[in-house]
């Protein structure tokens, strides 16, 4: 029986694959990597592309990842896949947009309310909630 290793393919939003495999091929930053069991510890960035996996039965499986990382331990391989297409400029654009929205929100700000005032408002809301609760309790007893 050929030796196997454990492979986990996970993305931030879900687990994609978990199980025993014989051989993994991934596109790392500097080229394709083929990983067999008992590989030396390795940590690499992945390029967008496919991760090819050979299962113990000889059956092959493919996963598409749009980037991410691969961590290799002698008997455990973990692919941390990115869910979204990531590029520096894309991230930058998203950040810019988030900033712009915030600036607009600040501009639309109505009167100036300080912390103390907000705190009293919140306290009032909490008091209301408490009052409702005690009312309800009284009601229950009646």
């Amino acid at each position: 029986m050929a030796s196997t290793m454990h492979l986990d393919v996970v993305s931030a939003e879900e687990e994609i694959f978990s199980g025993e495999v014989e051989f993994v091929v991934a596109r790392a930053f500097e080229g394709e990597l083929g990983i067999l069991p008992r590989h030396a510890p390795l940590l690499a960035r992945l390029q967008p592309g496919e991760v090819r996996v050979r299962m113990p039965g000889g059956e092959e499986q493919f996963f598409y990842v749009s980037g991410g990382m691969i961590e290799v331990q002698p008997r455990v391989v973990t692919v941390l896949a990115d869910t979204a297409a990531r590029a520096k400029d894309l991230d930058e654009a998203a950040a810019q947009e988030a900033k712009k929205r915030a600036e607009e929100a600040i501009r639309n700000r109505t009167g100036e309310i300080d912390y103390a005032r907000a705190q009293t408002e919140l306290a009032a809301a909490a008091a209301q909630l408490r009052a409702i609760q005690s009312l309800r309790k009284k009601r229950g007893k009646k």
Partner: protein
Amino acid sequence: MAGAKEIRTKIKSVQSTQKITSAMEMVAASKMRSAQQRMQRARPYSDKIRNVIAHLAKADPEYRHPFLAEREVKRIGYIVITSDRGLCGGLNANLFRRLLPHLSRCQQEGIGTDVCAIGNKGLQFFSRLQVNLVAHVTHLGDTPHIADLLGSIKVMLDGFREDRIDQIVLVYNRFINTMTQEPRLETLLPLPPVDLDTEHGGADEGEDKAYGWDYIYEPNAQEVLDQLLQRYVESIVYQSVVDNIASEQAARMVAMKSASDNAEALIDDLQLVYNKARQAAITTELTEIVSGAAAV
């Protein structure tokens, strides 16, 4: 029977409100279940990444990442996660109540604050406050995607990298169970060392521990660590967003349940008043007839 008609209309209107609240309760219950599943699904990624970071701490690479270094706190960035919609009890109010003392203490001590609001309620709250709102994202819906969060997270991370912010705190409601949601403040950056002490769950324990080893990095340690830590932070924020959604649905479910119960009690009371009024009207009528007959 003067008030009877009014009371009947009132009962009708309370009944239709009750229909709405009980429908909302059921919707929230089913949404909560899927939000909980999403919470479960997101867990492996952050667990795995935490393992890798734990490895890295042991592996002792020569490069020390700025995300791990403590420094004097002159400015704190808060990432505040709230719900987009209301009608979820005191969920958001509790969160703000937990957060405000921190903000005012910062103000007293002359520590600057930057706020990044995730969720509409937070945006509304902070746009009335004198805080420096640096980024916000709203309307994530019930199935948030990490891609929607990246922009706002990056604003904060850039602030940290460029030394504008010295600490990033994550504020959100942690889902404990259906009845309990706990408002939490957690330090996101610099990464607390406790995180790095978590043991590795893999099968390769033991044999590598004896001597110092390091990964083979591709392309190099710095870039790999950069990306890894950034992904880690993003995944924590994503986790908290999903947690907050589960909390929101749970809180809404409970709030709507008590609203339905209250409506029920109100209907009971009104029904009693209505019956009494009806009874009184019949009695008066009878008395009138009887006394009329007696007079004849």
